[in-house]
């Protein structure tokens, strides 16, 4: 029989495109096995596989898995772990009607009935079966349950070796899927049983009209598995007589001796000793080959379990990143704080230096005030001294002599007065008033006078003679005393003082 799609919905990511290649890993049993398979359209191809002897502890098995990958030449480090039959409980269960988004919760609570642990300690995977979904009463799902803690521990061990788990497959369903390729029941048989070897036991998969009815793992226990199988079939016949097994198909070289008589059912061997579609792969590889088919989207029971450590790892990684970010931000803040502290320290030193300079400037201003006062006093002295440096060319006698020598005929000088700081005064009288103007113009030509002005001109009579009396004021030229810059400094210094 070849795969009729019996799955409506499964617990893994919805809408995920079928993989073209997958690496499946088995860590249970006497050997650690890896298998890489690919898909070309609907064709299935086992590309590489290898096995190494399995150590006892889990971490050593993880390292052995890496060795097996290297031995097989597989570079991919994302792996699907095939859970052994003894580690996973597989049940076909009926659930009440529910919306699609409520189904995971219903499955989680249903899983508690089959593995008595708190919900948060269970890892579940499921696929909704098509036949039941047609009914109005509810839905049927194929459910796989295992312990979350074991999966998380396994993932940590593999992650420590550089392997990342992208999901889990159930070995019993994988083995069944591998042999279904070659399992064709006899005509008229509706329900049949597939028995295939799986590690140190057997997987019994009952199928009715293409749908899995029940899955049992039967430890060999020196041949007692046959009795266990008989009891399971008897119980199933009582519970669901409409799907009672009518034929048994033995795969992978299972010895049929005495089984037919024990079960009272026809027995038929299928597939020989190699896995269908797996080339030369022996029956021990059937679970991995079937799991690979499921992950490649060409299996009949693609039941998957999600990685359990990933959310924890993601949270841990997120926390690590957040912590790193916080540490970086704090380090930046500390560095900048240190820089700011140093800046403040330098600022304090600058302030102290500024205070010192301010005090010095204050003292300088006091000195400036004293110097300004001294300068004003010196200026007053200079002003009291007349402000003019005496020189030969500016001597009053010389000026008197020049003034007198320039006096025209007819001008009689009556008084000449020189007083330092005052104009030279020339008083006299004349009969011809025009001579006064002439003399004034002559005096203007003398270099020692800055200005020559007529003080007065008035008529008078001496005896019976009419004369004109006059006075001419000659302002002496004076050299500049104060320099503009010095004046400015004095004013500025005075202005700044309190």
């Amino acid at each position: 029989m070849r795969s009729q799609r019996v799955i409506v919905r499964q617990s893994s990511k919805r809408g995920e495109a079928p993989r073209s290649e997958v690496v499946v890993l088995s860590l249970s049993g006497p050997e650690v096995r890896v298998l890489q398979a690919g898909r070309r359209g609907e064709a299935y191809l086992v590309q590489r596989h290898a096995s190494v002897e399995a150590p006892s502890d889990e971490e050593a098995r993880a390292r052995a898995a890496v060795q097996a990958l290297e031995r097989a030449g597989i570079r991919e480090r994302r792996v699907v772990v095939c859970l052994p039959a003894r580690a996973v409980v597989i049940r076909r269960v009926e659930l009440p009607p529910a919306e699609a988004d409520q189904l995971p919760q219903l499955v989680a609570f249903e899983a508690q009935r089959h593995l008595s642990l708190p919900v948060d300690q269970l890892a579940t995977g499921y696929c909704e079966l098509a036949s039941a979904s047609k009914g109005a009463a509810g839905c049927e799902v194929l459910l796989a349950v295992t312990r979350r803690a074991e999966l998380a521990r396994l993932e940590r061990a593999l992650q420590a070796c550089g392997l990342r788990v992208e999901g889990y497959a159930a070995a019993p369903l994988g083995a069944a899927d591998a042999w279904l390729e070659a399992a064709t029941p006899s005509p008229g048989v509706k329900s049949w049983l597939l028995v295939a070897p799986e590690e140190d036991g057997l997987v019994a998969q009952a199928v009715s009209e293409g749908l899995p009815v029940f899955t049992r793992f039967l430890p060999r226990n020196g041949g007692s598995w046959k009795g266990d199988l008989r009891r399971s079939l008897a119980a199933h016949s009582i519970q669901a007589p409409e799907t009672a097994v009518q034929e048994v198909l033995l795969a992978g070289g299972v010895n049929p001796e005495g089984l037919g008589a024990l079960l009272g059912l026809p027995i038929r061997s299928i597939g020989g000793g190699t896995v269908p579609g797996g080339g030369e792969l022996s029956a021990e590889w059937a679970a991995l080959a079937g799991a690979a088919r499921q992950w490649l989207g060409i299996g009949s029971y693609p039941l998957r379990l999600e990685p359990q450590g990933r959310p924890e790892a993601a949270r841990s990684q997120g926390r690590s990143r957040a912590l790193a970010g916080m540490v970086a931000a704090l380090a930046l803040a500390v560095a900048l704080g240190g820089w700011q502290f140093d800046r403040q320290r330098r600022s304090a030193a600058d302030l102290a230096e500024a205070d010192r300079l301010t005090q010095q400037a204050s003292q300088d201003r006091k000195v400036t005030t004293a110097l300004v006062k001294q300068r004003e006093k010196l200026k007053a002295q200079w002003s009291a001294l007349g402000g003019t440096a005496t020189s030969g060319s500016e001597a009053p006698l010389e000026l008197l002599r020049r003034a007198a020598s320039l006096a025209p005929a007819g001008v009689w000088l009556t008084e000449m007065t020189f007083e330092r700081g005052q104009p030279l005064r020339l008083q006299g009288s004349t009969r011809d008033a025009t001579q006064v103007g002439r003399w004034q113009r002559s005096l203007e030509q003398v270099g020692g006078f800055r200005a020559v002005e007529l003080g007065y001109l008035r008529s008078a009579t001496v005896g019976e003679t009419a004369i004109t009396q006059f006075r001419i004021d000659c302002t002496l030229a004076e050299p500049a005393v104060a320099k503009p810059q010095q004046e400015r400094v004095g004013q500025q210094a005075s202005g700044e003082l309190p």
Partner: protein, 180 residues
């Protein structure tokens, strides 16, 4: 699934906000208050020192010029020098001093002004020669006032009044100089 709790997110936001605040503060601040105050203090000190230097130059210049006009010695000795000089000048001009009258020294801007008034009668050439001799000798005094008056139109003689002034350092300044 939430990767971070609300408390962790809050802590991250607070840390980032602090870092951003500090970075912005560092990038936008233009110097510390200390550096600004120091720059301002240096500027003021530079100005103060420049003003001081200018004042020193000006005072030195004034002191130099005033010092040339001051006479050393006690006022009485200066009066004697001026009288002797005036008599010598009159002698050189062929004249005789009619009146020599020292006045009381007076304080003037920290100096002592020592005047001596001289009166005589002479013809104009003699008067000019007398003035010339007075100034030529330049014996620590100045001719501060000269008055030539022709009182009598019929005569060629002039009345000449000359005020000689010497400046000496005041007592207070002497004491300050002795102290300083």
């Amino acid at each position: 699934m939430k990767l971070l709790s609300s408390r962790e997110r809050l802590l991250i936001v607070v840390a980032v906000a602090i870092a951003v605040f500090i970075v912005i503060d560092v990038l936008t601040s233009s110097g510390t208050p200390g550096s600004r105050a120091l720059a301002e203090a240096r500027r003021k000190q530079t100005h103060a020192q420049r003003d001081l230097a200018a004042l020193h130059r000006e005072i030195d210049d004034l002191q130099g010029r005033i010092g040339k006009r001051l006479t050393s010695g006690a006022p009485q000795a200066v009066v004697q020098d001026m009288v002797v000089s005036a008599q010598a000048a009159a002698g050189a001009a062929g004249l005789k001093l009619d009146d020599v009258k020292p006045s009381e020294p007076d304080e003037l801007s920290g100096m002592r002004r020592v005047p001596v008034h001289v009166r005589l009668s002479a013809r104009f050439p003699e008067a000019a020669r007398f003035l010339y001799e007075l100034e030529r000798r330049n014996a620590g005094y100045e001719v501060s006032q000269v008055q030539l008056v022709a009182k009598d139109p019929q005569s060629d003689r002039l009345d000449l009044e000359v005020s000689l002034v010497a400046y000496v350092t005041g007592e207070k300044e002497k004491q300050n100089a002795a102290k300083g």
